[in-house]
């Protein structure tokens, strides 16, 4: 009877829908995780008689004390900071400034394909390690969770697509990619409000971050004259000219002064619950949407 003839076609419709949907479901980031990145994130390809840039970031004046962090809510993390956790805004030892991001801003020609290796940012003791890191546009950056407790990585760039991924336990995220250069992109964890880091996205592989001793090295630089820019989250941006001779080593220094603070990418100012709580009238009586 015609009832039975009708069936197969009618089944076909929803099933087709299902297949279409599930087929499309495989979007988003792709495969290769792990891989070490680190300071000079990208590994540039060999360059004819390339030179090297050695640099130092000097710091004069009295560095302000970093704010202590209240990690009481995460004992496992607090245990990792015997000295007591503090923010990493300014790390300056004997006249050298750490966590300064330096990159080749101008003077470079040619295109620079992003390497397939991923830069890694670790989350250890509820702190991002490293605090400041660089990555090439289009290069993968993976976030590692070594704490075994939940973190989320919330990146809100200006010129790139924002992402907000979470990591419930020890694991390594799928590589995230920033398509356009942007210095700097603040990264933060919403579970642990104090967890903040910066990622500099650069169009070329020539960038580095100053270490505890204030030194940095950018290797494998093609000969030429360049504009270097340095960035610090509290003391802002400086530039310097540098000429790299064939097979030579150029040195450059950046000088920061404790008295001049102009942050370039300030993180959002903390929310002040007092602002209108003072309006006791509204405190006394909640205002329902219907009145």
């Amino acid at each position: 009877m015609f009832a039975t003839r009708r069936i197969p076609r009618l089944i076909a419709l929803p099933v087709a829908v299902a297949l279409a949907a599930c087929g499309g479901g495989d979007s988003g980031a792709t495969g290769d995780t792990g891989a070490a990145g680190g300071d000079a994130g990208a590994a540039p390809m060999a360059v004819a008689n390339a030179g090297t840039i050695n640099g130092t970031v000097n710091f004069t004046g009295m560095a302000p004390a970093n704010q202590p962090i209240d990690m009481g809510a995460e004992p496992t993390c607090a245990a990792q900071h015997p000295a007591g956790p503090t923010t990493q805004t300014v790390i300056a030892n004997n006249g050298k400034l750490a966590n300064v991001f330096v990159y080749l801003k101008e003077g470079l020609t040619g295109t620079h394909p992003a390497p397939s290796t991923n830069v890694e940012v670790d989350q250890h003791g509820c702190v991002y390690v490293p605090h400041v890191t660089g990555v090439m546009a289009g290069q993968g950056i993976v976030f590692k969770n070594s704490d075994g407790l939940a973190h989320n990585v919330n990146a809100q760039p200006q010129n790139n697509r924002p992402f907000n991924i979470s990591q419930p336990t020890s694991m390594t995220s799928a590589p995230q990619r920033f398509s356009t250069p942007e210095v700097m992109i603040p990264i933060q964890c919403d579970v642990h409000g104090w967890m903040q880091a910066y990622v500099g996205v650069v169009a070329n592989p020539y960038f580095a971050t100053s270490g505890e001793d204030g030194n940095f090295t950018i290797g494998n630089v093609p000969p030429g004259t360049y504009t270097l820019e340095s960035w610090h989250e509290h003391y802002g941006v400086k530039t310097a000219q540098v000429t790299v001779d064939p097979d030579g080593t150029a040195t450059v220094t950046f000088d920061y002064d404790a008295s001049v603070a102009n942050a370039v990418v300030p993180l959002g100012a903390p929310f002040d619950p007092h602002t209108d709580v003072a309006a006791e009238r509204r405190v006394a009586q909640p205002q329902p949407a219907t009145r």
Partner: protein
């Protein structure tokens, strides 16, 4: 029965009333449940189809309709009447008890930030200090909290204190509780608020009055020491604007 329903330990001044009400309703519905289900099963057995039997031909019975309609109406109205008073006692700001401590709890993804009045016992002044995901309150003192939210709707949930109240951005919602035991208890979020909703948890530490004053003094000192805020003397902050009554007094007149 409590372990059947697995109610969390109750350390709230009004939690007992809520639990009592819950148990009352639980018993009522349990009785109705067994009455109906047993009747149903017995009918099914008693009147199963057998050869030769014929069902009774009837279209209903008005008296029975009236009976069970009335009975149900009475039960639910009874429940409604006894519930309403308790509801207003807990939620109506006009019926809140005189608070011994006023706090601002500000929710954000995914933290509970508690603002303490600081040295001067006044909220909204420079010496206030904020604790993340950790609340400390004195025992046997009515604590009045003002719930605000920075981003999305959260729900401030204290299982052991039988308190739940949404925090809605753009509103300040008052709530109160009074802990009857010292110890550490759970602060949770009961409203889906984003990726890490399940991690939006904190601890409520209920201290004795002395311990609390000590803790508060230490916090005030720390806040004072921290750059940016004016140093403040350690002093008990049990005062609320209205009646500057020290904690002990507050505790006593609460009982």
């Amino acid at each position: 029965m409590n372990e059947f329903w697995r109610l969390p330990v109750n350390v709230s001044s009004y939690g007992g009333d809520i639990d009592g009400m819950f148990m009352l309703i639980a018993w009522v519905i349990t009785i109705v449940f067994f009455a109906v289900e047993i009747l149903l099963v017995w009918f099914l057995f008693r009147y199963r189809a057998r050869p030769g039997r014929k069902a009774a031909y009837m279209h209903g019975n008005s008296r029975m309709e009236v009976l069970w309609t009335g009975a149900t109406a009475l039960i639910v109205l009874f429940i409604g009447v006894i519930s309403r008073g308790l509801w207003l006692d807990i939620k109506d700001p006009l019926r809140f008890p005189e608070p011994g401590l006023q706090l601002i709890v500000s929710a954000k993804q995914f933290e509970w930030n508690t603002t303490y009045p600081g040295a001067d016992g006044q909220l909204g002044t420079a010496d206030d200090f904020i604790r993340r995901n950790q609340m400390h309150v004195p025992v046997n003192v009515p604590v009045r909290i003002t719930l605000v939210s920075e981003d999305v709707i959260h729900s401030f949930y204290l299982p052991e204190l039988r308190l739940k109240q949404d925090a809605v951005p753009g509103m300040q919602i008052p709530a109160w509780f009074e802990a009857t035991q010292t110890g550490e208890f759970t602060v949770g979020c009961a409203e889906l608020c984003g990726l890490q909703h399940y991690r939006m948890k904190g601890t409520l530490t209920v201290l004795s009055a002395d311990q609390f004053n000590a803790w508060n003094a230490q916090q005030v000192a720390a806040a004072g020491a921290a750059p940016g805020t004016t140093p403040a003397l350690a002093a008990p902050v049990m005062n609320n604007e209205a009646a500057g009554s020290p904690v002990v007094a507050a505790a006593s007149h609460a009982h």
